[in-house]
């Protein structure tokens, strides 16, 4: 779809929702991700200009357990209503809109690039604040009733490991390190705790950041019901540190800051051994997602250079798994 075609379709959509005077301007492609394409546009009407985005599904390709755009928007909206800093959802697309699944949300200014957030001088102050902000935001998310959006996936940790193992083995690419990690995960399952709403992809790269820290949390596609420690482990994975290995929280902060604020706001303890389990699980999951994206290319579903290239990042996750399991990783 080109910007002109999208502008035409969007104009009808916003007129149905916001009145016949509504206009659409400045349509620009923001990114074409693995399972979504995002466009920025301005809603013009009533003497004001409102910056918005529309996120559309990119075909039917979704990683195992990922939500469709309608469910994703519903979770994001519930989170926004509960005060979580995330873009307000202005509308969920329906079949008459003719664009497939998708939603319209507030457009928030700021930086999302991981490398810049963990490294650029202008974000030094933001980095000081972000680990504590993460602790607070995660406690807020985990306080949302897990039944707030019906039909979210909910699996016990052992079943999550099984599902990931099946996904990996389906590619018939033998990786002994992955099978060792699967064994380790089965041998080190966390203590059961009451299930909560888990964001599922809470990490550097999915935060909009300005000079004061996190303005907004994006990408609720992997939201599900599960162990709250999963979000803390995922946030601390090496893959999201963008080279800042000695800043385990997202490449910007220290674990003590994250855990202290999380415990204070949520009233629940941060459990380091469960968090380590979820770091190993998350690293394996990221490795399997890289395989999934690569095999979309190899099977001919998506012909893109980016998709072909990501297969050679699987070895990074093998290394991270080895050092995590051996206990030599920077923690």
């Amino acid at each position: 779809m080109n910007p002109q075609q999208l502008a035409t379709a969007l104009t009808l959509i916003v007129q149905r929702r916001f009145g016949v005077d509504a206009r659409v301007g400045n349509v620009q492609s923001v990114s074409a991700g693995a399972s979504a394409q995002t466009w920025a546009f301005d809603l013009i009407g009533g003497g004001s200009v409102q910056p918005l985005i529309v996120q559309l599904a990119a075909g039917d390709l979704r990683f195992s357990g990922a939500l469709d755009k309608t469910q994703q928007a519903a979770v994001q909206q519930r989170a926004w209503e509960r005060g979580v800093p995330t873009p307000k959802v202005y509308g969920i697309l329906n079949p008459e809109d003719g664009l497939g699944q998708g939603f319209i949300a507030e457009r928030i200014a700021g930086e999302t690039l991981g490398k810049r957030i963990v490294g650029a001088a202008e974000f030094a102050g933001a980095r000081e604040a972000m680990a504590a902000q993460c602790g607070r935001i995660l406690a807020q998310i985990h306080a949302i009733p897990p039944t707030a959006v019906p039909g979210l996936p909910h699996y016990a940790p052992a079943m999550l490991v099984e599902r990931l193992a099946a996904e990996h083995h389906g590619y018939h690419e033998p990786l002994p390190m992955f099978d060792l990690a699967i064994r380790w995960l089965h041998d080190n399952l966390p203590e059961p705790r009451p299930p909560v709403l888990v964001h599922g992809d809470f990490r550097t790269g999915n935060f909009i950041v300005d000079g004061n820290g996190i303005c907004s949390v994006l990408d609720w596609e992997l939201a599900h019901v599960g162990d709250p420690m999963e979000d803390l482990g995922w946030l601390c994975m090496n893959a999201w540190r963008f080279g800042q290995l000695d800043r385990p929280v997202g490449g910007f902060g220290m674990r003590d800051q994250l855990y202290a604020v999380y415990e204070q706001v949520s009233g629940s303890a941060a459990d380091p051994s469960a968090i380590r389990f979820w770091e190993v699980y998350g690293t394996l999951k990221w490795g399997v997602i890289c395989q999934y994206l690569t095999f979309q290319y190899l099977r001919g579903d998506v012909r893109s250079l980016e998709r072909a290239a990501i297969g050679r990042r699987v070895s990074e996750t093998e290394l991270d798994l080895l050092t995590l399991i051996e206990g030599t990783a920077c923690r």
Binding site: D179, R241, L319
Partner: protein, 130 residues
């Protein structure tokens, strides 16, 4: 038969230089991003042409030694995966972990030698060996 110069590695180097010095400066936005991916892939192929055959042979020799049976790299790796899954190898087996470390370091030397965790792990291993 011996192919004429340039070698595959030398041709890859020429292609990478072309993309970096001639093409990259003319591009912006998504095209510039895509070209950097292409360039990175050529750098991977260059390293693979230089290091790949020896590293793959070494991996195969270690697998034969570890498993006590022969076969090609894929068959051997499949056998090792099965023996890890069924518990023939303990997750703490020192010979297994040593093999995995050498194999993963070899992949990193080709795929992404600048990966920060690889630099740290390599320095730790070298310090441990001294």
């Amino acid at each position: 038969m011996s192919l004429n110069r340039p070698t595959a590695g030398e041709l890859l180097q020429a292609l990478a230089e072309h993309l970096e010095k001639v093409v990259q400066p003319r591009l912006s936005g998504t095209d510039a991003y895509q070209n950097r991916i292409a360039l990175n892939l050529l750098r991977i192929l260059e390293r693979e042409a230089a290091l790949g055959p020896q590293l793959i042979n070494e991996e195969q020799a270690r697998l034969i030694d570890l498993l006590g049976s022969g076969g090609g790299p894929t068959t051997l790796n499949e056998r090792l995966c099965t023996q890890i899954s069924n518990g023939t190898f303990a997750a703490t087996d020192a010979r297994l972990l040593d093999h995995l470390r050498r194999t993963i370091y070899a992949k990193m030397a080709i795929d992404n030698p600048q990966y920060a965790a690889y630099r740290v792990a390599l320095a730790q291993t070298r310090a441990g060996n001294n």
